[in-house]
């Protein structure tokens, strides 16, 4: 128990107490607390167990950089693991639990991992499970994963909504601290559209709650051209000044309000960006520096000033720069006892000296903390003399008692976004820090993120960056008045001290607290030959935890530089990648989940299908009726019945999903003649023709019928799957290849509802419902197309057959689709007319040997499928030149044939065809099955397939083998035209 609530101060509302629970125990905090500050106020100092060694860990920071205090927030479906307690805003009823401990946080069995220390050292995975021991990985993975880790996610569906937002602006300002506020103010003065985003719960950064910031923000909020986004993390900087941000709309309450999203993902496209992302304090490492009670110095100040919480009762401070004395001053002002200030420097600034004196603390200059003492929490520190060249001295260490140690090793500018959208970071020797490199996109940095730590300078720099950004947008900013900040008397220039341990110091010295990477791990990696930063990072996993090494990267580099006897910039730095902080998958998915994962396309008859018992299936984005099952029919029984009824009498199937393209213009026929492999110039008006489309490489691409409606207008149909690609290709040809052709192509897929009426009674049914069409064989011959009316509604009727029966396709305006469909079915009642689904459609076409998607698989030619007669020799068309290639005319190519099951077994699509007497393993594949069905007409299982020397093998017995399921079916090779090969039924 070290932290406690101060009797006054802080930006909390003491009139609004909030009740919350951590690991089942109830506590109280106040509005304005974070989970971390509230727990600290309650004396809680154990927040979690570390990743590998399960060491006890406490609060290390007060912000997004927190490596230790990861908790699971909420429970059940809303449970969210690995949230940083330091940024979780407290709300009434909040529940959180600690992670990575078993059976309890205070007593963790896995903590014995640290006894097995060397086992978990750098490269542990690579060393232990490579070579002969690789198999052991399988065995141990479960236990290792259990032993090392983070919180567990929930498998329950997330009950909350997430949204996307697209935003455009002239100037995006990231970070609303001193520099960002002034940048936004300056930019906004020009009338520029400005977005100011900050990850914290309120804007203002270090000025949060100050009168000047409040006034400034109120002024900005009143402007129409400014959007203020608090709780919004800009996490990624992408091409063309597009930035990704997540706004936590309702993360700070128990559950979102009705209609409110939990999080909103912003895609911000900005003309100019000002990065005012601030800086993160860095620690200095020493023995057992992970002990609960060891905390960054500025975090200590924030807990006091922002939350009215003292981080300890007897606080020691360890620093290498004057900036840390701000924390000393804050503690003193709040009446918190500072027992000792250990500063590696021999001399400190006058202001720092004054603060130290006022605090009453013992000031130990030229000394460093070498080790933290205590059990589960800090009880004291060991201090030794320090030499800037030699480092800390062994022996003669003094012990000082303390329950909290505030550490400051200087500041690391937050250059993540700059690094994502810029050149290599630039090293600054005086700050011992990397600064933003050259901008490769239109951004400029201001304030602490480019090393300016003085408030007055931050204001000026921000105002200048905002004004420049506005000017770059062609706007004229007005001068802005800067808040009257005096030049900071505490300079943050640090003395470079990275590792304060003496040569034989005791205890583990952690560089990366979240991934449990120690200074010895880095030395070990170096000894084992890892030189490049990228290798070091991957081998030790330094900086690869969820905090992305925000408090450890530079220290890690410094230690590597020490090993290699190079300067830090010579060792180099890694490039930052998005996201800056973790982003929830919900925010990335937005509304695209469940039924919105992809849109659904419904035909005009959709509701009818569903109401009449259709089982719907996806065909791309479309939904199509698969079968209309009656009673307890199986799929096979249903489609067999449907197909049988079509051949016996009449049925109707929804074909609205076929692609339909209106091809119009003086050169429409010429265009089609160049696009299809068969001739279209002489297609008469009022006639349809089946056409084949090839790719430029000569392979088959798509097929369909195209109807000539007039001299200059055609209605092209495509397969459902290729509707969009065919239209794109036609547009390409008209733009890039034959720009001289006067042709316009337009998708009319959605304009027409289409239904195929098939079966010997189809003519009678249609004749009874069409107002004005002579349906006789003479008036409407095979492949004829007519415009007519049905109940006064305009329709197109084409005599086409995919089933081999007398059949027609009826197209009508889509809004009329349901009416026309119902009317035709009603007229068909006396004939026992039925609706049929795509299963029966497939059965009927396979019985006729018509090819479809499974045969047009992108690897077949017209000749392979017995359609060589449709490839004209008299003209050029797309694909004609490459069709003559040797590989495409090779007689050894697989050819389309039919198969019937010889043993009554069901043939599987994808089965390979092998000789019955082939005993080799695996047997030689002679081809494969493409489409299969039970044929009610033949009362057998039949199939289409591609076979070596296919047509010559008719009559042979083969085996269709499906080794994945161990299914062998004896088949006989037959012609692919199973049923009515003369086509007599459709020509009646």
């Amino acid at each position: 128990m070290s932290g406690y609530r101060l009797s006054s101060g802080g930006q909390i509302d003491r009139a609004r107490p909030l009740s919350f629970a951590f690991d089942g125990k109830r506590y109280q905090g106040y509005a304005g607390d974070t989970l971390a500050s509230a727990l600290l106020a309650n004396g809680v100092d154990l927040f979690g167990r570390s990743f590998k060694y399960h060491r006890p860990r406490g609060l290390f920071s007060a912000g997004v950089e927190e490596p230790n205090a990861l908790v699971t927030l909420r429970s059940g479906a809303r449970a969210e693991p690995n949230t940083r307690a330091t940024v979780v805003e407290l709300y009434d009823g909040l529940e959180a639990s600690s992670q990575n401990r078993w059976p309890s946080l205070a007593f963790d069995v896995m903590a014995m991992n640290q006894l097995a220390g060397p086992l978990f050292s750098a490269g542990f995975y690579y060393k232990t499970f490579m070579g002969p021991t690789r198999k052991a990985w399988m065995l141990y993975e479960y236990f290792i994963r259990k032993a090392a880790g983070l919180g567990a996610g929930t498998l329950l569906p997330d009950p909350d909504r997430y949204e996307e937002m697209n935003a455009f602006c002239d100037v995006l300002v990231v970070g609303a601290g001193p520099a960002g506020l002034m940048a936004a103010t300056a930019a906004a003065s020009s009338g520029a559209r400005v977005i100011l985003a900050d990850e914290q719960s309120a804007l203002g950064g270090n000025l949060r709650g100050s009168a000047s910031a409040q006034e400034n923000l109120a002024g900005l909020a009143a402007l129409d051209n400014v959007t203020l986004l608090a709780r919004t993390t800009v996490y990624g900087y992408y091409d063309d000044n597009t930035l990704g941000a997540v706004e936590r709309v309702a993360d700070h309450v128990a559950a979102p309000a009705e209609g409110q999203p939990r999080e909103r993902h912003w895609t911000i496209r900005a003309k100019q960006v000002v990065l005012a992302t601030g800086a993160i304090e860095r620690p200095i490492i020493f023995g057992d520096n992970d002990k609960p009670g060891v905390m960054l110095a500025d975090a200590g100040r924030l807990y006091v000033e922002r939350h009215g919480v003292a981080p300890g009762r007897r606080v020691a401070v360890f620093a290498n720069n004057d900036g840390a004395y701000r924390s000393v001053a804050a503690l003193t002002t709040a009446g918190v006892a500072v027992s000792a200030i250990v500063d590696a420097r021999r001399e400190i600034g006058a202001e720092a000296q004054a603060i130290a004196a006022a605090s009453g603390a013992e000031l130990l200059l030229g000394q460093v903390v070498t080790r933290a003492l205590g059990g589960q929490r800090l009880s004291g520190i060991e201090v030794a003399a320090f030499d800037p060249v030699q480092g800390a001295r062994d022996g003669a260490q003094r012990q000082i008692s303390a329950d909290c140690l505030l550490v400051s090793g200087g500041w690391t500018p937050t250059i993540h976004l700059a690094s994502q959208a810029g050149g290599p970071a630039r090293w600054d020797d005086s700050l011992t820090a990397f600064l933003p490199g050259e901008a490769s996109q239109p951004w400029r940095a201001a304030g602490a993120c480019q090393g300016t730590l003085d408030s007055a300078a931050c204001f000026a720099e921000g105002a200048q960056a905002g004004a420049e950004a506005a000017r770059a947008c062609g706007l004229s900013p007005n001068p802005v008045s800067l808040p009257g900040a005096k030049t900071e008397p505490l300079a943050d220039v640090p003395l470079p001290v990275w590792d304060a341990r003496p040569p034989h110091g005791k205890g583990k010295a952690f560089v990366d607290l979240q991934h449990d990477v120690t200074a010895s791990d880095i030395s070990l990696a170096h000894r084992e030959g890892f030189r490049s930063v990228e290798h070091l990072k991957r081998y030790t996993t330094l900086g690869m935890a969820t905090d992305q090494g925000k408090t450890s990267n530079v220290t890690g580099l410094a230690l590597m530089a020490r090993e290699r006897k190079l300067s830090i910039p010579e060792v180099g730095t890694t490039r930052f990648r998005p996201p800056y902080t973790p982003v929830s998958l919900g925010a990335l998915a937005g509304q695209a989940r469940g039924s919105h994962f992809r849109p659904t396309r419904r035909t005009a008859m959709h509701d009818w299908h569903v109401e009449n018992g259709a089982e719907m299936q996806a065909a791309g984005l479309w939904l199509r009726p698969r079968i209309y099952a009656q009673g307890s029919e199986t799929v096979e029984q249903a489609y067999s019945r449907e197909a049988r009824q079509v051949r016996a009498s009449v049925g109707m199937v929804d074909v609205s999903t076929l692609g339909k393209i209106d091809v119009q213009g003086l050169d429409a026929a010429e265009f089609l003649n160049r696009v299809y492999s068969n001739g279209f110039l002489k297609l008469p008006e009022g006639k349809a023709r089946y056409g084949l489309m090839l790719r430029e490489d000569g392979f088959l691409w798509d097929d369909g019928t195209t109807w000539r409606l007039s001299e200059t207008q055609f209605l092209m149909t495509t397969t459902t799957a290729n509707a969009a690609p065919v239209l794109s290709q036609l547009e390409f040809l008209l733009a890039a290849v034959w720009p001289e052709l006067k042709v316009a192509v337009t998708s009319v897929t959605e304009q027409w509802a289409g239904m195929a009426v098939s079966g010997p009674k189809s003519r009678e049914v249609l004749a009874s419902v069409l107002d004005d069409l002579d349906m006789s064989n003479e008036a409407l011959p095979f492949m004829g197309v007519r415009k007519g009316h049905l109940n006064g509604l305009p329709v197109l009727v084409a005599r086409l057959s995919f089933s081999g029966e007398l059949a027609y396709e009826v197209y009508c305006g889509a809004h009329h689709g349901e009416a026309v469909w119902s009317r035709i079915l009603e007229a068909g009642k006396p004939f026992g007319m039925i609706p049929y689904g795509v299963e029966a459609l497939g059965t009927l076409r396979i019985e006729k040997g018509h090819v479809a998607g499974p045969e047009l698989d992108g690897r077949t030619t017209a000749e392979d499928l017995g359609l060589a007669g449709m490839t004209s020799r008299k003209k050029h068309y797309i694909g004609s030149s490459m069709l003559k290639r040797e590989g495409l005319t090779d007689p050894a190519r697989l050819k389309l044939v039919g198969f019937v099951s010889a043993d009554g077994g069901k043939i599987r699509a994808g089965a390979h065809l092998v000789a019955a007497n082939d005993t080799s393993s695996p047997p030689r594949s002679l081809g494969h099955i493409t489409s299969t069905t039970y044929s009610p007409a033949l009362e057998k299982y039949i199939a289409l397939g591609l076979l070596e020397d296919g047509p010559e093998r008719v009559g042979e017995k083969l085996v269709a083998t499906y080794p994945l399921k161990n299914i062998d079916v004896d088949v006989e090779v037959v012609s692919s035209h199973f049923f009515d090969p003369e086509g007599s039924r459709m020509h009646v």
Partner: protein, 97 residues
């Protein structure tokens, strides 16, 4: 990535479909050799830097564009409409051809 469509203005790349190398010209079928066709259909350079390519604004104006893009930086140098309407919409950025 944003593509500056000469008709629609800059739009997200998700609205476009890539159409491949735009420097390849379709051979004249009357005179082309098998090698010409092979080159047109199959042979592609994979340049580091400037690349002139086709993009189709399928979720927008449906025009086919020629776009000069840097394959390293993704920066787009220029864009123009391909085909009969090329003159009807202003070229964006620098000349593509």
């Amino acid at each position: 990535m944003l593509i500056p469509c000469p008709h629609c203005g800059p739009r997200d790349v998700a609205e476009f479909t890539y159409g491949g190398d735009a420097t390849k010209e379709r051979p004249n079928p009357d005179s082309a050799t098998a090698e010409d066709w092979c080159d047109y259909v199959f042979h592609r350079d994979n340049p580091r830097g400037r690349h002139v390519e086709y993009w189709h604004h399928g979720q927008g104006c449906r025009l086919w564009l020629k776009v000069a893009r840097d394959t390293v930086t993704h920066k787009i140098e220029g864009a123009e409409v391909v085909g009969p309407w090329a003159a009807a919409a202003p070229k964006q950025g620098r000349d593509v051809a």
